[in-house]
Amino acid sequence: MSLIVSLAAGAQNGVHAIAPSLASADNPIADFSDTPWWLSLIKALLVFVFLLINTLLVIWFERRVIGRMQQRPGPNRTGPFGLLQTLADGLKLAFKEDLTPKNADKVVFLLAPMIAGAMAFISFSIIPMGPVVSMFGHRTPLQLTDTPVAVLLVLAVAGVGVYGIIMAGWSSGSTYPLLGGLRSTAQVISYEIAMGLSLVAVFLYSGSMSTSQIVASQKSLWFIIPAFFSFLVYVVTMVGETNRLPFDLAEGEGELTGGFHTEYSSMKFAMFFLGEYVNMFTVSALATTMFLGGWQAPPGIAAINDGMFNQGWWGLLWFVIKLWSFMFFFVWLRGSLPRVRYDQFMRFGWKFLIPVTLLWVVSVAFIRGAQLAFFGESTRTATVIVVGVISLIALAAAWLWEGQHEAAAVPAERPEEIDPFAGGYPVPPMPGQRLREPSQQAERSLAGSTGHPELSDQEESRG
């Protein structure tokens, strides 16, 4: 014991002695030195409460907004404006019978929702939700914790979270969940690469993977501007990562019933549900932190009264606003876009997102190099030249791409009349096409008679 104490004391002295030479940007800027362990515990509980309440709200919000988009009211009976609808649904789930299929692998079947539910919360512990505030007499940042590799932690946890899905799909002992689980895994790992690569540009600008450091380095300029392409890629991948429409191929109802959670009921199903929504908050919070300045006030407001709105609990307000605008975006997507076909989805990820993001990383590296005087002392000129060259290359590539597509896009000949069963399975007609009745065709080939014109007309009006 005494050895440990002396070691700790020695470590403290050593750290203080060399501290001035170590102003490294790798380390978190958030100062947790005045945060006792019980305050960390309280903050951890608050994070859970924050996420659970937000989940309850966002499900109601989603149903109301989609209702509006579809010109219907949405849930409006339980509580004021239907606010308690989600709570009622959650309670209902707790009262439902919990079934484990006979074929299932019991242990894994139970572990899967636990992983999906519990892992979802971890990432939020490194999200900075505000500046230093006063809590129970201590000065502590509105952030549970931070490490020099905080963003890697988020990516790692996202990787572990996939286990929940694949284990659920495999352990159910049923075909639909197995397919859903596999699809989902392929999807998540494909988009995780592009997500990780899109963040590299942010690290290039911030020089750190600590979230508090990243927020601090966006004081003058939010990274959405210099890393705009990364932001776009991230937004696409975050929808893919969370299995949300238009990328919810893992649970496409038309194809796979419920996907990986087909066999789940009661609280276990609720855990998957909870995990999905918490994940939405996590990726949105990460987007806020990485690209939208985190908890910092928008540029105009930040200047008012010498940065008054950038201090204390105000930060939480800006953070929540940014977070919820992403949630609205998620809901908006769901309300307006159809599901993507699986092969198109994978093609987009592997043949567009990944290579283009890699090239983007190289471009940003060169821009950073110019700013850091790799190409000579006059950084401004070098930056302008590098940006110009990159833009020219991008324009030329886009032009070539366009030309290729125009050349390829020769409109295919469309016959007036199609046989719906020509390919072996029914195909609906395109607009302006007539449908040939298969029975007529058979009749014609048998008896050599011509088709009845009035029947084709009928078909046309029906189609």
Partner: protein
């Protein structure tokens, strides 16, 4: 200072952190994991207390759109999922190398050479991806 915090102090200094924290960040993360597991256990407990349990053979079969399932659900999997797993490993490892590079490029003495080297590194990966694409490995049929 409480006894449990001291080993964490050493861990902190090993990582080279300047500002001492009371609780190791990784310990905090571990605490969050435990709380999440506790949440799950609590949910399961609540369900046990509240929900009925009356299984029948019919209820315990797996779902196959109302038809009795044939065989067990563990079908052989198409190998194309496997290919994506391979490619994923390649690119995940690549990203692992990019992250530390991105955070140290601020030191100006790295200079042009590091940019060129990283360009080549990424170029090699792109060549591999192009080969895979041309060979039809990325075509999902």
């Amino acid at each position: 200072m409480s006894a449990c915090a001291e080993p964490d102090l050493r861990e902190e200094t090993d990582l080279g952190l300047v500002r001492l924290t009371r609780v190791s960040p990784y310990l905090t993360v571990g605490g969050v994991v435990l709380t999440g597991v506790f949440l799950f256990v609590a949910g399961m407990g609540a369900r046990r207390l509240l929900a009925p349990y009356a299984p029948t053979a019919m209820k315990l079969t797996t779902y196959e759109c109302g038809v009795d399932p044939v065989g067990d659900g563990w079908a052989q999997t198409n190998v194309r999922y496997f290919l994506y797993a391979f490619l994923y490993v390649v690119f995940a490892v690549d990203a692992v190398y990019l992250f530390p590079w991105a955070t140290v490029i601020r030191s100006a003495d790295l200079g042009m050479a590091s940019l060129a080297e990283m360009g080549i590194f990424i170029g090699v990966l792109l060549v591999g991806l192009a080969h895979a694409a041309r060979r039809g490995l990325l075509r999902w049929v």
